[in-house]
């Protein structure tokens, strides 16, 4: 008798456990490393509000994220380079691109005694082409009147690993300099004629921080958190704009979205626009078979687009402007 009751108890406990784990909705995602800290934070915060939903985001890189998403092994993907039309065509269930957050890429530099620096479009490309090799070069000096620039060699730092950051950065330089487009071009990994390669944003940040005379392109958050000086860059209308959340938001607010929401402000035209800004996208299927999962995922992304944006700034991302959030929400509504 005792044994039977114990067994019954065990069965009851087991079924209760199974029932509990069945109600916990798991959502899995994979993709870009750049927005990973934000998405993971969203997962944690959302889980506090809705304990039944667990979001697991793996930061495996944009390319791998698109591969996993296409293979259907995750519920959502994430990519700094969105998805190309050819890639979208491979997904039978259809794809909805949702801009989720944005980042700006800065010229972080290490020049003792020079807290502010203006870089013209000519100097920006010249540095990465190996044409401007000294900090007191006329190409830099003419835009910095009153600043004593040291006669130091410029130590250029770049990303050695394939990355969406490099893609957005080289895309902008290719747009503003024909020489750069011809000699280097645009890609996730390119070959620069000068400089040292660091691994990841943190690798480039360390390179810049350690060597006086160094300059490197990193995400805004990395330069800001490490207290590294950032150059003001000349935009299309000729103004020098310092990188911060406001100037990036100015750029994003001026972006004209196509229907698929895949767009880069390659060379923004507004007077106050910071020139190198990029969205990063969540990749969702058009159709989900599991209704419960669909609801949980939609609720999570909606939360991320609204309340989640408040977490952006402290983590070094640029919150999406209200009109962009509306467009993203409209796109989300088409997911079934």
């Amino acid at each position: 008798m005792k044994i039977t009751s114990l067994l019954t108890l065990g069965t009851l406990a087991a079924s209760a456990f199974l029932a509990a784990s069945a109600t916990a909705q798991q959502i899995s995602g994979a993709g870009a490393t750049f927005p990973a800290p934000l998405y993971q934070r969203w997962g944690v915060e959302y889980n506090k509000l809705h304990p039944a939903v667990q979001v697991n985001y793996q930061s495996v890189g944009s390319g791998a994220g698109v591969k996993n998403f296409t293979a259907g092994v995750v519920d959502f993907g994430a990519s700094d380079a969105a998805m190309s039309d050819a890639e979208i065509a491979k997904v039978a269930k259809g794809v909805v691109l949702i801009p989720a957050t944005a980042g700006e890429i800065v010229y972080a530099y290490n020049l003792p005694g020079v807290p502010k620096l203006n870089l013209s479009r000519e100097a920006m490309a010249g540095i990465y082409l190996g044409k401007v090799t000294k900090w007191d070069d006329a190409a830099i000096a003419k835009d910095n009147p009153g600043v004593t620039l040291p006669n130091l060699p410029i130590q250029v730092a770049y990303r050695a690993d394939g990355s969406g950051t490099t893609f957005v950065f080289t895309q902008h330089l290719s747009a503003i300099s024909k020489d750069f487009a011809d000699q280097v071009g645009t890609d996730k990994s390119v070959t620069f004629p000068v400089g040292v390669g660091g691994k990841g944003n943190e690798g480039v940040t360390a390179l810049v921080k350690q060597s006086p005379g160094a300059v490197g392109y990193v995400e805004y958050g990395y330069a800001k958190n490490n207290g590294i000086a950032m150059a003001s860059l000349q935009n299309k209308s000729g103004n020098f704009v310092a990188p911060d959340i406001e100037s990036a938001a100015a750029t994003l607010a001026n972006v004209q979205f196509p229907e698929n929401l895949r767009v880069w402000p390659v060379d923004p035209e507004g007077a106050k626009d910071y020139p190198i800004v990029s969205f990063t996208w969540l990749l969702l299927y058009k159709k989900y078979d599991d209704a419960a999962k669909l609801k949980a995922l939609k609720d999570f992304v909606t939360w991320g687009l609204t309340d989640g944006q408040k977490l952006s700034e402290e983590l070094g991302y640029v919150p999406l402007p209200a009109p962009v959030v509306e467009k993203a929400k409209a796109a989300l509504a088409t997911v079934q």
Binding site: V60, G61, S62, G63, A64, P153, Q155, A160, D161, G162, S163, G185, T186, D187, K188, S189, V190, T191, P193, G195, V196, G197, G198, K199, G203, A206, L207, Q210, S211
Partner: protein
Amino acid sequence: MSQTTTSVNEEGTMEFRSKPDFFRVLCWVASAATVATLAWIVYTILQQAFPAIQKFGFDFISSSAWVPNREKYGVLPFIIGTAVSSLIALLFACPLGLAIAIFLSEDFLPPAVRQTVRFVVELLAAIPSVVYGLWGIFVVIPMMQEFGKWAVPAFTQTWVTKGLNGAPDTYQGIPILKDIFAGPAYGNSLLTASVVLALMILPTVTAISRGALVAVPKTLREGAYALGATRWEAIFGVILPTAAPGVVAANILALGRAMGETMAVAMLIGNSSRLTSSLLAPSGTLAGLLANQFGEAEGLQVNSLMYAALLLVILTLGVNMAGEAILRYTQKRTAGIR
């Protein structure tokens, strides 16, 4: 055959032998699985690399342009970077490791201290690669920057000396050295990576060399001393030559490890694909290239990276096989004195 075994025992043995020998089977399966795994790995790499092999062939090895966005792939700078960084690392680690091994295998120190030193050196092998990388960034790179500040002007400046008939002779820097230590001196460089690599392979050199030195028969040592050899004569004349096969094997294994080392090198070498003669300039290795670019690679770039992986496997297998061959040859040569 044997007359001493009892019949019961013999039957037991017979019964045991009639069954399959499970231990033997287990050993066979385990060793076959190891060989099969290696073959499988090489096959997979070969298969993935095939489109790149077809497209580039031998040019892949002799070309120095690695430009993913223009679909140009050549790994010559990375092959040179791999070879040079490992050889320089061995250049540092071999004398140091051998010296430590001699020090720890002779009775210079009380056994307790010797054990402690040995333990500490072998502990170096337990430090994760990424920790070496971080240590390199914060300690070795600033040191290299200082070294560069001194070395570049010292070796490249113009020297004026008094010629034979009183007329001054001028030299544009010191030949060879001015190329090897040409500026600008970046912190992340081939030399930085080599120094950290040397530390990483030191335990391998030390542990295996020490093992070989300890294994030298006692009679040989005593014989040497009996003939009136001093301690150094005994070490250099008798003990080291006898232990030579083991010492050579230690260095070859260390070289293999240095060539395959990835994380620390990727963090320190500067990851550049430009060919340069300067040790103070950034360079790249095959392993570092793979670690950096595989995550985001697509299409032909994946095939090319697999081709590079294949070359790395061939290089390391080649080094290990050469090591084995040298080991056997020297063992045969020194067999007489054992």
